[in-house]
Every structure is written in C-alpha cells, then in structure tokens.
Symmetry: C2
Subunit: 72 residues, 2 copies
DNA sequence: CTAAAAAGTGCATTATACCGCACATTAACT
DNA sequence: AGTTAATGTGCGGTATAATGCACTTTTTAG
C-alpha cells in the first residue's frame, strides 16, 4: 500500500513553511523518529499521528468519493 | 483527538451502499473487530486500515489546506 | 571543498493496533 | 412480542507503531 501522495504533500508543505523535521515533530508532539519514518516512506502511521502532523501544517484529512470512471 | 467526521462519513457511506460491517471487513481485508472498533469511535486505526476501508467504499483520503479564517 | 545542519537508519523497548472468539446489546422485520 | 440480523464489547495473543539513542548519509551554506 502506497501513501506516496500523502507523504509528498506533507513533505512539500513542511518545506514550504521552512520547518525542519525536528521542529515539526516537536510542535506536533510526535516522535522525531516517527516523523522521519513516515516522510521517508517506511512505516504505517496511525490516524492520530497523521492528524497531529497535518494540523500543525495547517492541513486536514478529508474523505472524498472517488470519481467513477477513473483513468487508471 | 476527534475523528468524528471521518467515522461518520465511513459509516454513512457504508449504510448507503447497504453493506454490513461484516461484509465490508471481509472485502476490505481488515478484521471485523477492527472495523467495529473504528466505527464505534474507539480505536486509532493505521493509515493502511483506513485506506483499505475507504477504497472498498469508493472513497479516498485527501489532504487539504485548511482555510485560514476558519470559524471555530 | 568544508563544516554544519538536516535527513535517514539500525537496534531495542514500550505502547498499542490488529485480530479472533465469545457474548451482550441494539435494530429491524414479521 | 418474538426472532433474527447487525452492531458493540471484554479478554487475550500477536504484530507492529511509536519512541529514544547513536550513528551514517545527504544537503545546504560559507
């Protein structure tokens, strides 16, 4: 299972805000190791972890219905 | 931490599709216990679990930037 | 090129998600 | 009301996420 899109968005957003992993981890109150793990594509974070990180970055997780005829 | 919105959406979507927790769990290949836990508001699922469930329901997780002047 | 900062990784421990099972509670249908 | 389907929950084992620490690699700034 790839979360590439999510990872990329988090990374890009963090870089846009010019925050280091260390700072983000601190503010979001997640372990630095956890954030590193996630951003480097390993790991399978919990909803809570992703939510904490997203919130600090001014983002939120949304569920949307997939378009039916999605071109694979 | 509140995942109420996400939970509600999953539940509603499942009910719209008239699928039982049992069926959804089977198709999504997650434990029935896990799905029950999530839908009943306990638990903190992993990204993988949420993704599996969402996909079966024809939905996808998206990260979006929060509006700045959000009326709390 | 070089030094410092940032990001990635191996290892070990602790916390907890995942899961099945059995049973309880609630909802739906006749 | 009674029966059945569906959902919720306590218990307990297994898998793995979360975390810190120490170290390596990569990136960035001078």
């Amino acid at each position: 299972m790839h979360f590439d899109q999510l990872i990329l968005q988090i990374k890009q957003r963090r870089e846009e805000l010019q925050i280091t992993q260390e700072t983000l981890a601190e503010i979001a109150e997640v372990g630095l190791r956890t954030l590193k793990q996630f951003e480097s594509g390993k790991g399978n974070p919990t909803l809570q972890t992703i939510t904490k990180i997203s919130e600090v970055l001014g983002m939120e997780l949304k569920l949307q219905i997939k378009p039916l005829n999605q071109i694979k």
